[in-house]
C-alpha cells in the first residue's frame, strides 16, 4: 500500500513540519504521519513566534532555508523588535500570529512540495531490526518502510492532562494521547522520563473591557523574520497588558487543595521560567501583582490567549479568579487552562545529529528531547530532517557549531549536558552571543543551507550580493572624514561630545547612540549610500563597524576554542582504558561518547586536566 520512503516524520508540529520540509527540499521522499491532519502546525500554546533568543532561532531557520520565518511573516498580526535599547546582539524579532492562518500557511507550504506525502493515523510503534529502524507500524497494523524515521511526538507520548482533580489522557485538549512508542523504546533499552508543561485558559474577547488595560502596539515600522521576499505588515493588531491582584491570588489559593501540582499528582518537572500562576504566587508571595498579556489569537477570531495565567487549578476557580482581573470582570471562558505531563527521552542519548545512539537511523526532535517552545522544536526538526536525509543518501551528518548559531548551542547543550526541566533558549546560553545576532543569521548560515540543499539558488544569490554590498558600504564609510562644522550641531543635539578637529566618520559611529542616519544630510556621499543600498545592508555594515572590537574579541575566542573542536576522537574509544582519567570522567565520557575534544570539554564534570590526558592518548 505504501512505497518505501527515504524519511518518515512522525508528528506534524513545528518540529515535524520543518523536518519534512528540510528532507524534502534536499531531495528525500518524505511521509509525514500525523494523528490529525486538521491540526498540522498547531500553535498549542501562545499565538506568537520569536522573542528574545527565540527570534534569533527563527531567523537562523529562515537563513538555512527552513519555513518557520516565512510562515510566521505570512500569518503575523503584530511585529515587535524586542530589546532595541540594548546592543544589536539582543535585538529580537517577535510576532503575534493568527493561529489558524499559521497552520494553514504551513499546510499549504507542505502540500505544495510534491516530495511530501501525508498519512493520518497514530503511529503505534517502530520497526527495528538489529538496532536499526526500518520503518513504522500504525495503529491499524500497517507497516511503512523507510531508510530513516524522525520522531517529533511533542506532548503526545502518554500525554496526561490535569485540570484540578480531573485527569484524562490526551496530547492536547480534545486530542488523543499516543501510546506504544515509549514502551517499545524503553524495552529496547532507552531511558525515558516525564516532563510537565501548562497552558492558560482561552477567553471570549467580546467579554473583556479593554478600556481598563494598557494597549501594547506593534512596532511603528514593522520588520519581519524572513530574509526572503515576504511582506512586512501594513496593519497590525494590538495586545493588552493587565495585572493580577491580591483578590485574584486569594481566589487561586482556594483551589490549591485540588491542584495537581500541590497534591503531588504531577510527577514531571516543569520549567522554572514558565511557571503556572499558582506557582508564581507561592514562590514569590511578596509580589502583589503579576503581569498578564492579553493576546488576540488572530485577525478574525474573538478568541483571546491569557499569557501569564498558565494554570491547572479547577476550572471554576480559574474563572472566578480571572474575573477579579482588571478588564476581566465579565470574562467568559472558552476553555480552561491545563497542565500536561508527557514522556521525553533524556537527550544525552542522542548524537549531535539528533540520531539516537542506540537505534541507528532513528532521529528525535522537539519536546521528545526535553525542550519547550515552537522555535526550539522547529530548529531541531530542521536539523533532524537534514540528517535523516543525509543518512538515507549515505552522506556525513550535519552539525552546527556553537559559534555558528543558537541552533548549534541548543543541540550541543542537549546532547552534552542533558536537561532537567523543559529546555528553553536564552541568549545567556550562548558564549558567542555577540556573533550570533538576528541581523547576520543569513551571513552565518545561508551558504551552509545552500550547500546542504535547503536554501534556494535565489537566496544564495541574495546572500552573495548582500555580502558584497556590506564590504562596499564599509569602504565608503571608512573613507569619509567629517569636520566639526558638519557634525557638532548633530552631536550636541544627541548629547554626544563635540569634536575639536576633523575626524573619520567611523570614529563617530563607534559612539553609543550615534547612527549613520543622523548624518544623512551632511554629505552627498552619505545620502547616496541610502539611495544605492538596502537599509538592512547599511545596518549590517554599520553594526560590524560599530562593534568591531567586541566582534573581533569573540572571533578570537572562537578560533582558540575551535582548535579543540578540530581534534576528533575515534568512534570506538573506550575511555575506561585511559587509566589516568577519574572514574567520574570515564563514566560521563563513555555515556556521551564525544566526537571531538571540544565536545568532551563541554561535558559537565570533565576537567581541563582530563582533556590534556585524552589529548596525549589520542596522539598515540
Amino acid at each position: 500500500m505504501f512505497r518505501k520512503y527515504n524519511v518518515i516524520v512522525v508528528g506534524a508540529g513545528h518540529a515535524g513540519c520543518e523536518a519534512a520540509w528540510a528532507a524534502a527540499q534536499m531531495g528525500s521522499s518524505v511521509l509525514l504521519a500525523t494523528m490529525n491532519m486538521q491540526t498540522i502546525a498547531q500553535m498549542s500554546c501562545n499565538p506568537a513566534m520569536g522573542g528574545v533568543a527565540k527570534g534569533q532561532i527563527v531567523r537562523e531557520i529562515d537563513a538555512m532555508g527552513g519555513m518557520s520565518g516565512i510562515i510566521s511573516d505570512k500569518s503575523a498580526i503584530q511585529f515587535r523588535m524586542l530589546n532595541m535599547s540594548k546592543g544589536p546582539a539582543m535585538w529580537s524579532p517577535r510576532t503575534q500570529n493568527d493561529r489558524m492562518l499559521f497552520a494553514e500557511e504551513w499546510r499549504l507550504a507542505l502540500e505544495g512540495n510534491t516530495k511530501i506525502d501525508f498519512w493520518q493515523e497514530m503511529i503505534a510503534g517502530l520497526v527495528v531490526k538489529n538496532g536499526v529502524v526500518t520503518g513504522v507500524r500504525t495503529a491499524l497494523g500497517l507497516e511503512i518502510e523507510a531508510d530513516t524515521v524522525v520522531l517529533t511526538n511533542g506532548t503526545f507520548l502518554n500525554g496526561l492532562i490535569h485540570i484540578g482533580e480531573k485527569t484524562f489522557g490526551g496530547g492536547r485538549t480534545g486530542e488523543l494521547a499516543a501510546k506504544g512508542i515509549t514502551e517499545q523504546l524503553v524495552s529496547l533499552g532507552m531511558e525515558a522520563g516525564r516532563m510537565k508543561t501548562g497552558t492558560p485558559p482561552r477567553i471570549d474577547g467580546r467579554s473583556l473591557n479593554y478600556e481598563k488595560m494598557e494597549e501594547q502596539f506593534g512596532d511603528e515600522k514593522p520588520n519581519k523574520f524572513s530574509f526572503g521576499d515576504t511582506k512586512a505588515l501594513s496593519k497590525q493588531k494590538s495586545c493588552y497588558i493587565t495585572y493580577t491582584n491580591n483578590a485574584v491570588h486569594e481566589i487561586l489559593k482556594t483551589g490549591f487543595e485540588k491542584s495537581p501540582m500541590y497534591t503531588g499528582r504531577i510527577k514531571g518537572l516543569g520549567p522554572r521560567y514558565c511557571p503556572s500562576v499558582e506557582d508564581k504566587i507561592t514562590r514569590f508571595a511578596d509580589k502583589d501583582r503579576h503581569q498578564i498579556f492579553v493576546e488576540p489569537e488572530g485577525w478574525n477570531t474573538i478568541e483571546i490567549y491569557v499569557n501569564g495565567f498558565s494554570t491547572s487549578l479547577p476550572e471554576d476557580v480559574q474563572l472566578k479568579a480571572l474575573r477579579k482581573i482588571d478588564g476581566f470582570e465579565n470574562a467568559k471562558m472558552f476553555r480552561p487552562g491545563y497542565a500536561i505531563e508527557y514522556d521525553y527521552f533524556p537527550p544525552t542519548q542522542l548524537e549531535l545529529t539528533l540520531e539516537t545512539k542506540l537505534i541507528k537511523n532513528l532521529f528525535f526532535a522537539g519536546q521528545i528531547n526535553g525542550t519547550t517552545g515552537y522555535e526550539e522544536a522547529a530548529c531541531q526538526g530542521m536539523i533532524a530532517g537534514i540528517n535523516a536525509h543525509n543518512r538515507s543518501v549515505d552522506k556525513e551528518g550535519f552539525i552546527m557549531k556553537r559559534s555558528e548559531g543558537y541552533i548549534g548551542v541548543l543541540v550541543d547543550d542537549l546532547v552534552n549536558k542533558g536537561t532537567e526541566e523543559p529546555y528553553r533558549m536564552f541568549t545567556s546560553r550562548a558564549e558567542f552571543r555577540i556573533l550570533l545576532r538576528q541581523d547576520n543569521a543569513d551571513l552565518r548560515l545561508t551558504e551552509l543551507g545552500y550547500k546542504l540543499g535547503i536554501a534556494t539558488e535565489e537566496r544564495m544569490n541574495n546572500w552573495l550580493a548582500k555580502k558584497k554590498h556590506i564590504v562596499e558600504i564599509d569602504k565608503i564609510v571608512n573613507g569619509i572624514k567629517v569636520t566639526p562644522d558638519q557634525v557638532n550641531g548633530i552631536l550636541s543635539s544627541l548629547e554626544s561630545a563635540e569634536i575639536k578637529e576633523k575626524t573619520t566618520l567611523s570614529n563617530l559611529l563607534k559612539r553609543p547612540n550615534i547612527n549613520l542616519e543622523v548624518f544623512q544630510n551632511i554629505s552627498a556621499e552619505i545620502a547616496q549610500l541610502y539611495l544605492q543600498y538596502e537599509p538592512n545592508e547599511i545596518e549590517e555594515s554599520i553594526i560590524q563597524l560599530k562593534y568591531k572590537d567586541y566582534i573581533i574579541k569573540e572571533e578570537e575566542m572562537v578560533k582558540k576554542l575551535s582548535n579543540l573542536d578540530g581534534l576528533k576522537i575515534p568512534e570506538h574509544l573506550d575511555f575506561e582504558t585511559i587509566g589516568a582519567l577519574s572514574n567520574e570522567s570515564k563514566q560521563k565520557l563513555n555515556k556521551i561518547k564525544p566526537k571531538t575534544l571540544g565536545q568532551a570539554s563541554r561535558i559537565s564534570g570533565v576537567s581541563p586536566a582530563d582533556i590534556s590526558i585524552i589529548m596525549i592518548y589520542l596522539s598515540k
Binding site: 540594548k86 539582543m90 509580589k287 503579576h290 498558565s310 536564552f426 545567556s428 582558540k560 576537567s607 586536566a609
Partner: protein, 454 residues
Amino acid sequence: MLIHNDTIVALATANGVGAIAVIRISGPEAIAIASTVFKGKNLIDVPTHTVHFGLIHRNGEPIDEVVATIFKSPKSYTGDDIVEISCHGSSFIVKKIMQLLIAGGARYARAGEFTLRAFLNGKIDLAQAEAVADMIAVDSEASHIAAIAQMRGGFSQDIINLRQELLNFASLIELELDFSEEDVEFADRKKLTDLVTSIKRSVDALIKSFDLGNVIKNGVPTVIVGKPNAGKSTLLNALLKEDKAMVSEIAGTTRDFIEDEISIEGVNFRFVDTAGLRETIDKLEHMGIERTRQKMKQASLIIYLFDVNTTSENELIEAIDEIKLLSIPYLIVGNKIDTTSKKIHAFRNFDGIIYISAAHNAGLEALRTKLLEAINYASFKTGNTIVTNMRHFESLSNTTTSLHKVLLAIEQKTASDFLAQDIRQALYFLGEITGEITNDDLLGNIFSKFCIGK
C-alpha cells in the same frame, strides 16, 4: 579551557629557598614578554641559545639581577620560544618576577603543561608523555585539594561571598537581556556601578592578601608552646640574640602588641603573642586550654617545646596528638639536653625531635634549618603556597582587570550585551578558583530571585 597557543610561565626549579631559581616562559610571546621587564640587551634581537646578563625591573624599579637564556622555536624543550630567567633564589623575588610576567601577558602554567607542549610538538616520546598524563591526573587532584585546603576559615568564605556577589551582578545584567519583556525591576546604572566597585574592592583586597611578599614582609606567624618551665622564653631570647642584626622589636602602646621577629636566610618568623608568652609563661596551664589553642590556630607554624628531663613519653604523645588536630606544621623540640644525665632513649620512638639547649646555644643551628624546612613543608602542605598563590593571584588579577572594563563600560553607557562580555570574563577567571560558573548557575540564580515567565 585548554589552549595550547598562548604563553605560559612557571618556576622550573624546586620551590623554596635555593641559591638560584629558574623561571621558564614558553610560547609565541615568550621573548616579547620577557623583553618588557628585562633591562640589558634587547632580547628580541638576540640569536637563539644565547645567555644575557641584565636587570629585571618594574617600571624602572629594579627587582633583581638575572641571567636570561633564549631558546628559539623549534630548538627548545617545548618546541616553542623559551626564555629561562635565572634569578636569586628568594621566594619573594621569584614571586615578583612571575607577577610581572603574568601582568605582561603570560599565563601561569598548569601541571605538566610544559611537558604536554613538548609532547604535542613532537619533542618527547610517548612513554615519557604517558608518565606526564599520570602526573597531570595526580597533580590536578592534589592541587584541587590544596586549593580547597588553603581556603580555610575566613578566606574561603570571602571567595564564596565574592562568587555569589559576582553571580548576582551578572544575573542583574542577564536579567535585563533575556527577560526584558518581564515585569521585573531592572537595576539602575548607579546601583550596578556600586556593586561592581564593591566586588572589585574585595577582589583587590584578596590580591593583596595573596601576595607572598606580604607574608615574607610580615613574617611567618609562629608560636612556641609547652608546659611551664620548658624554657620557652629562654629559647626565644636565644634565637633573638643569635640574630641581633635582624631583630626588630616593635614596641606598642601596650605590651600585648609586642612581637619579636627573627630572620633566617631572608625568611622572617614572627613570634605571635610573645608578650603573653613572657608574662604568663609560667601561668599557662598544660596544653589544651582554650587560650593556647586559639593562639596556635592563628599560627602558620608551631614549636612544641618540652623539657627532656621532666617529660614522660605519654605526655609527649598527648601533646603531639593535640597539635596534629590543628593541621598546622609543627616542630617538636626537646630542651635542656645539657642538664640531662640520662640518654634520650625514652624518646626514640618519636621521629624528628630536635634536641637543643636554649641556655647554652646548643642545637640552635639545626633548629633554624628545621624552621626553614618547616616553611617549605608548610608550602607543600597547603598545596605549594607559591604555586597556588600564583594561580589565585593570576585569576584574581584577571578578574579585577575584567571588572575594571565592566566599570568603564558602565560609565561609557555601553549596551549591556557588551558589558556582559566582560562580566563573563570576570566570572570565568573567578571560576578558576571557585570552580566553574556556568550559564546554568546564572539562570538558576535568576529564576530563584525573580518571578520570570508569562
